[in-house]
Amino acid sequence: MKKKKKLLTFPSIIVLTVFAILPLIIMLVYSFQSDSGSSGVTLENYTNFFLKSVYLKLTYRTIINSLAVTIISLIISYPLAYFMAKKFKGLKNIVMILILIPFFTNQLVRVYSWLIFLQDGGVLNSFLQSVGLIEGSLGILFTQGAVVIGLVHAFFPYMVITIYLALERVDNSLLEASSSLGASKVRTFFQVVLPLSMPGVVTGIMIVFVPCLGTFVEPRILGGVNGTVIGTVIEDQFFEIYGWNFGAAIAFVLFAMVIISMTGLSRIGRRYDNE
């Protein structure tokens, strides 16, 4: 009986092994082959990537963009999550639902909505002109700024949720204890609330920063020619240039960046969990 039940777990594992693990291994093999058609193992794709300043610059830009998105998301999310967990009462559920709803709207629809909102002559442009803040065109679409705005919009709700869940677990009696022992509100926040909510903050950073590294839709659509990042370079290798082996190598560099940031962040997270 027990043996039979164990078999029930196999279909999922087989699907993942065949359609996720195996393809990744094959991609790794491709990344060590040359695009020029000569057979044999070569490091040329990787050396090409790491020796050309173009690609290093793009890597740098991808990381900086993702960091910017993460920091702005944190600035929006932490206070919001804090207010939801500690200040709102009846409002809390409504705000939570409103934060969750965009999860269920299509990613491309959201990108498209920013495209028409930010475009020169678009609604934001007309609005800012009519209140006299700017003259002429807005000029924000097709810049890195537009990409960052679009990505913050896509990812910050995840962070609100992880931080909210961590703050919710912070026992209110701890706050009362801290203030009855004479600590100011500010001190209570920095010495009690913030450290206790750090696991949620770290998870939130992970859930925003890591997917940002691999985006290509938002940079392409909202950044235009100025939006090139690692993700769009990889896309081009497959759809425009047909340098599949080089594309596979860049994808693995991206994969490595993802793994490094995840292990780093989860190590930091664990340190807070143990406290």
Partner: protein, 269 residues
Amino acid sequence: MRKYFTDQLIPTVYALMALAFLYTPIIVLMVMGFNESRYNTLPFSFSLEWYSALAKNEVLINAAINSFVLALITALICVVLATMFVLGMKTLSRSMEGLFRSLIMMPMSIPWLILALSMLLFIRFLDLDKNMFFVVAGHVVISLPYAMLSLQARIQALDPALEEMSASLGASALSTFRRITVPALAPAIVAGGFLAFMISFDNFAISYFLIPAGTSTLPIEIQSSIKFGFTPEINAISTVIIGVSLLCLAIVGLIMGSSIENMIGGKKK
């Protein structure tokens, strides 16, 4: 007075600002779908032109049907796989369970771009043409973790004593499964299926890389319209998608509110 400021006014204003950021572009998109302007610009004059154009746009409608069918198949497969997995999970050793679970959750943390590319190379490695089988496989791989999250939360809350009791009262394994386990898991199965459906319906990256030429899904159509020139028909179809998603969300939320809450950890203790 000061307490009113710090406890009420500032938090409310802050939340409203965050929500305004979240919703303004989406609302503008919806409103502009009812505007005569071809370029999504003001001034506003009401028109249903883009909706009637959409009704005649077979490319967009076919793409929407494709997305729907693909998401439905994906959701069904994910629900079956996830249900089987959580039922068998308890018999695994601790380390095996951990390993299997992290394998299934892995696609949540790897950029889908990478998964899509690796599958594309896999198809080339097998010397096959792009086909719908691999599109479905890719969608299952990325949607399965979400179905699994929902079911895991539920089965952990399920009291094993119920099944034992049923067995000790003489019910056969099959009837215990049918009468106890399935009804207990039903809300999580529906919620998990819904999540998997949404993930698949929304997905662009996997479909974009794997779909055979001549077929398309809604996200792919939206992307290519953005690339090659679009009209507010895109606003109209977006509004329809958002409306339908919200309706489904409301229905699922009403039926199984508590299990969704469990899933995001709201009531975990």
